[in-house]
Structure formats: C-alpha cells, structure tokens
Amino acid sequence: MANDPSSDKRVDQATGTEFVGHEWDGIEELNTPLPRWWLWTFYACVAWALVYTIAYPAWPMISQATEGYLGWSSRDQLTEEMGVADQARKEVRDQLAATDIVNLQGNPDLMQKAVAGGRAAFLVNCVQCHGSGAAGGPGYPNLNDDDWLWGGDLAAIESTLQHGIRQPGDDATRFSAMPAYQGMFSQAELDALTSHVLSLSGKAQSSPVGAQAYADNCAICHGPTGEGDRMQGAPRLNDAIWLFGSSKADVQRQILKPRMGVMPSWSGRLDPATIKMLAAYVHSLGGGEDFAEAPAEEPVTPVNEPTE
C-alpha cells in the first residue's frame, strides 16, 4: 500500500466524488462528507450522556446502580407524587371522615366523589375475591345484585367492611354458622329436603317429608318460606341467587358440609374515609338499598348457633 497520501487520489467519474480507498470486492466507498453540524450534534449527545450518567442513576454495580449526583429515584418520585395526589384529595377525605355515612346520600356531590374514590380502592383491595366487576363467583358474593346477606344500605355495608365476616378477634364481626348435617339424614330424607329447599324458589317439587325436615331443622334461621334473616346472616333460600350454586348436588353439599366464606375486617387496614368510599361504591353498583327499614321494630336477640 502506498504511504503517500496524494499518490492514488482517484475520483469517481459518475459523481465527481473522491474515493476513500476502501474496497470490498470491487465496491468502493466514496467520500461524501457528513455536514459538520451533524458532528456537533453527536458531540453534544455524548456530552449530555456523560452529564446524565453522573447526575442520574446509571451505572449498574453489584447490588444496585450508581445513585447519581442528584439523588433522584423513581421510588422517591412516586412517593412524592402520591403525596401530592393525597394532598389534592385531602379536602374530600376530611369531609368524608366528618360525615356520618347515614347522611352521605343527602350530599350527592360528596357521594359522587366517594363513589369515584371507592372505585379505585375497590380495584386495589377487593377485586381479588369479588372480581374487577364486583360480580363475585361461587362462594364470593356478587355485589351488583339486590341480594344482601347482611344488609345492603350504606351503614350495613360500611359495618361489614369495617368488621369483616367471621373474623376472629373482632367482636363486631358478622358471624353466622350453618351446622353440618353430615350423617343426620337418610339419603331419602336428604333428597326430599333438598327438593323442598329448591321448591322455595320454584326449582323443584316439594314433598311432606321434605317440608317436615325443613321445618324441623332449617326454618328457625332461614324462615318458614326460606326468606332468610339478615340479623343472623341466614341466606334467603327463596330467590334466584345462590352463593354456592343452585344444583341439587350443590345444595346437598351445603347441607352436609357447609362452606362458609370469610371477609377480612378492614378497619385496621384502611382509614375510615376509604371504607366509606368503598361502601358508597358498592352501594352504587345497582343493588344498594335505602335506609327505610333499617332500624328493626323489635330487638332481635342474637341467636348463638352452636359452632361445631
């Protein structure tokens, strides 16, 4: 190769451009210079990158990346932004905390805000069991419908949220127990009883044996016509909604080895304003009830079902 730079300066005939001197299988590179501003842009990017890697977390080390001179982290930024967002909601939360839930419906504006807040809180805390559409599933109540085990007005929902269902350690928790009737009925009796239970909602034919078995064992909690009792949390049996399924096998299983769901008590985990928001949201889903019949005319003595 020639060492003299000027010795083989050749010019491409077609374009009038000089060759660089690189050749690959007869394909040669022409010297078409980049504009200089492009080079400056490139240097500026390099300089920017250097400053950036010093100022911000960048270089991966063994346990974590370099922290950066400015000490910025996405976690801190999130905390800060959440703080700002909380601050922005503070007024509504304070107002909500100071409002008794029975008065919430009298304040449509606050109710609306509570529902919106509840929707967000629901997606974080409740969807794991009740589903993102609050439609529940077998064993997990659907919150959109008009069937409530423990009452569907705002105060009842709030109380359920606060104290949970069958939560040990919370005196005010919703508690009921369905006895297990395993071994207490002959198969014929069981079939008759099951048919009677299903007949309450028109799904099967009743029989005297079944009716008698129902009256002896079930009516005390579920009521003579299966109307249920919210004070005890005894489900309605004469409606279309069946938490654990409405097939004959489902009902028999629930008689012999009943399954009973639990729900956490949220009063220690969520602040009162959030619980009110959740109550408002659940109430707004379409099945919420008014307070009209809320206070019972006669005090009902709590029935302590023996828990076996």
Binding site: D4, W38, A135
Partner: protein, 485 residues
C-alpha cells in the same frame, strides 16, 4: 516496534466532515420576489395575529376565534366547534392539506418549499435581517471573512439578538393557540403560566433561532423528507425552475460573444442566478435537491437579459415536456396548459370532493348525541326475583350553548324498564328525563331490567331534546341474558 502503522491512513482525506458553506444571497427584485414577499407577509400575519381574533360564542364558551382547548377537549375555529368524537373533521382537514400539497406539487413542483414552508418563510425573514444589519452580499462576505474585533462582535451580537427576538416571538405566538391569548400573555409575564407553556416557548425559540438563523438551507438539503417525497411526485408535466441550456450554452461574456458571433449562447455567465439563490446552488447544473423553486434566479436572470437586450426566460418555470418541445424548435406553450394534466385534475377532484363532503357533514351534524357502552364485566346480573339487569354507560352530549332537557327512552326490549345512578329504581320507567348543561357531556349509568325469561337481544337507547329545535339520536346496543337468542 517503531514501524509506522500499516493502516491505510494515507487514503483518508484530511476532512471527514464538511463545514457549511455560508450562503450570502444577494438582494433582487422582480415578480417572483414580490410574490414571495406577499406570501411571507400573509403567512406571518396569519400565524402571529390569528390567536388574538375574538369571537363571541356566548357565556358558555371561550371568545377566542381559533383555540385548541386541550384541557376542555374542544377545538374552536370561528363558528365551528369540534368535539373529540368529531375529530374526523380535523383528520379530514389534514388529509385535504396532504392532497393539496400533492396537487400543488403536481402543478408547480416544489412551490410549497419555495414560498410557503415555514422553514423557507423564516429563513427568508432571517436573511432579510442579515441584509438589514450587515448589508448586502458583498458587505456580508467581507464581514464574514474579517477577523473578530469589537466591531464584528457588536454587529454579530446585535444580529443574533434580533434573531432571538424573532425566535421568541415565534415561540410565544405558538402557545397562544392553546389558551386564551390575553390571559396567557399576562400569566406568562407574571410567571404564572403552566410550565409546559414556558418549555414550549423555550423549545420553539431555540429551534427557530437555530433552524432559521443558522441551519437554513441545511434543513432542506439534509433533514427534510419533503424534497425526497416531492421529487417522487414530480413528473414531466410539472413546472420546474429550469435553466434552458439549449439556449444558454455555451456560456460566454458579452465581449466574447461580440467577437465571435453565433458561437455562444445567451448565458453570459454573470453568476447572478447563483448569487441570489437562498440555498446557494447553481441552477444551471439542472434540477437538484437543493432547489426549492423559489424562482429568485428567474428574477435575477430576467433582469440581466433585459439589461443586455436578450429575451427573458433563459431561466424559467418549464416542464420537462416543454423543454423537449422547445429544444425541437417548437414555440413555447402558455403556462396554463399544465392544468390539463390528468393527475392534476384527479387531485383537484379528490381534494374538492373531500372539502364538499366535510362541509356537508359540518352543515348537517347534530348538536345532540348519545353513545352507549354496555358493561362487559359482569355482562348481566341476575336479581333475586329472577329478573335480569344489564348496566350501561350513556354519554349524552349537548353541543349547544344553553342547558337542555333531554328524554332518553328504550326502543325495543318491550318488557324492560330502566333507572340510573341518580334516578332510583322506584322510578324505573321506559323513559327518563335528564338536564344536560350547556356545551357538556352528561355521563349516566343506566340499569336496564327485564323480567325473568328475557332472551338476549338488540335494542336501542334514543335521546330526544325536549325544546326546539327537536333533535334526536339513537344508539343500538345489546341486552345480554343467560338465556340465548
């Protein structure tokens, strides 16, 4: 060890990067220059003044004639108000702008580049600043070559300050389209405007300063995709700025031509066409990417031809087809024949029919609308008495400047009733009345309940205004049920 490197360094050129060759274009006057002035003034005035035009829309809407209200999701343009769901009007306008550009390119080549492109307009403006501060071409070249001294520093600082003021004004005008201009101006100077306003102004000031003041023709030659796209849209029937080499060549000075009559063409190689060019090219080398077809070289050449008593149009707008005809000795055709180009006619018709369609849609659009989206999670709800409930989100739009009462009713699904999040189910009925505020959308959650046994089927919500003019809209949707169709 001490052997010189065997790398072929000798083959590498000394400069890998090319410095920009400064363009000091000379002042010229002529019909095309005057047209360029006209376009420049019109476009700049439109840009700077439009946001300040007021337009009374009543108490419920802003009084700025042209406003892109991003927060309120409205686009105002004089008496037209575009809602987000009508964004196809804006899309249609953009498509028209695109086809308009094709149309213009098909007729007059890169006229957009030459006259109306913001890069061209601002470059032209900044070149006038150069001329105003530093004098014409020769003075500027002298100053460029002069060593840095107090005088040069003073001149340069002053010129860059003028650049900066124009750039700032340009950036400042942009944000006025997105908020009430007088309020924003006050807030801006009081330091109370949104950070995005300051960032936008800073950004646009910087880009205008750099692109208009320094990058100039480099943007057209290296950065912009349009020259490439437009050259693909030109054909032999499009007007180009053309040097008529069959008439001009061989070049020779007047003296040479006098000595050797008949030997030289009309071009006297006076370089005027090169000196006036804002991108610094030589049009006599033929059509090229750097030519933005601003036609200033035509003005320059025509003036020279007039001075030396030769016919004008040595450099002229001509189509490649015309060039062939003229070379063959046929007389030039009037320029209007370019309009008979089939492609041009096709573009015009597409462009015009889009415009007519948009105007028709705009004139006949309703000011009340309803959209319905059914809840999909859960799709239906079984109630304790066995009836089936579906939930829907209704959006009731009132696009006029006064509150209106509207009635929403169910069409189809004969046994169903509905209530909403604000109307309790004690008042469930086939139709409900709502008040929708002026220029607002009312979002309603509707619960439609049908008795046990209702099958899955289609039905509609229908909205009707209760005051004049009676308008209505309906939206078909689905009632989902565990019982199939």
């Amino acid at each position: 060890m001490n052997q010189p490197s065997k790398l072929p360094t000798g083959h590498l050129p000394e400069k890998l990067y090319e410095a920009r060759k400064a363009v000091h274009n000379k002042r010229i006057d002529g019909p095309f220059r005057r047209f360029k002035w006209f376009v420049m003034i019109v476009t700049l005035v439109i840009y700077y003044v439009t946001p300040w035009i007021r337009w009374d829309r009543g108490p419920y809407a802003p009084d700025q004639a042209v406003l892109v209200d991003l927060a309120g999701r409205r686009f105002y343009m004089f008496n037209i108000e575009i809602w987000p769901h009508e964004f196809y009007f804006v899309a249609g306008l953009l498509i028209m702008a695109g086809i308009g550009l094709f149309l213009v390119t098909s007729v007059v080549g890169r006229a957009w580049c030459g006259y109306a492109c913001p890069q061209t307009v601002w470059t032209d403006l900044f070149q006038h600043v150069d001329r105003f501060v530093d004098g014409d071409r020769n003075a500027r070249m002298r100053l460029d070559a002069a060593p840095w001294g107090p005088k040069k520093i003073a001149r340069r600082s002053f010129k860059w300050l003028v650049y900066l003021v124009i750039a700032f004004w340009t950036g400042g005008a942009w944000i006025m389209y997105f908020a009430d201009a007088p309020t924003l101006t006050r807030d801006f100077w009081a330091g109370e405007a949104a950070p995005v306003a300051y960032a936008t102004v800073a950004m646009l000031t910087l880009t205008t300063f750099a692109l208009g003041g320094f990058m100039r023709e480099q943007v057209c030659i290296y950065m912009c995709p349009w020259p490439r796209i437009q050259s693909a849209m030109l054909d032999e029937k499009s007007l180009l700025v053309t040097y008529k080499d069959w008439r001009g060549e061989p070049r020779g000075s007047i003296k040479k031509a006098e000595k050797n009559p008949g030997e030289f063409g009309d071009c006297i190689d006076c370089m005027q066409c090169v000196q006036v060019c804002p991108t610094g090219i030589d049009i006599r080398e033929g059509s090229q990417i750097g030519c933005i077809t601003c036609a200033l070289c035509i003005d320059a050449c025509d003036r020279v031809m007039q001075d030396i008593g030769r016919p004008r149009g040595l450099i002229d707008y001509a189509t490649l087809e015309d060039c062939e005809r003229e070379k063959a000795g046929e007389p030039p055709r009037p320029v209007w024949h370019v309009l008979r180009h089939p492609r041009t006619v096709a573009y015009s018709m597409i462009w015009a029919s889009m415009g007519i369609a948009l105007l028709f849609l705009l004139g006949t659009r309703d000011h009340t609308s309803l959209t319905v989206s059914p809840d999909r999670n859960p799709p239906y709800m079984l109630m304790s008495d066995g009836s089936i409930r579906n939930s829907y989100t209704l959006k009731l739009r009132n696009m006029v400047g006064r509150p209106r009462n509207m009635e929403v009713s169910l069409e189809g699904l004969p046994t169903a009733v509905f209530w909403t999040d604000t109307i309790s189910n004690d008042n469930a009925a086939r139709s409900q009345t709502f008040t929708v505020n002026a220029d607002e959308t009312e979002v309603v959650r509707a619960y439609v309940m049908a008795p046990d046994g209702t099958t899955q089927q289609e039905f509609s919500f229908k909205v009707t205004t209760l005051d004049d003019p009676i308008e209505s809209d309906d939206n078909e949707t689905r009632f989902t049920s565990p019982i199939g169709e």
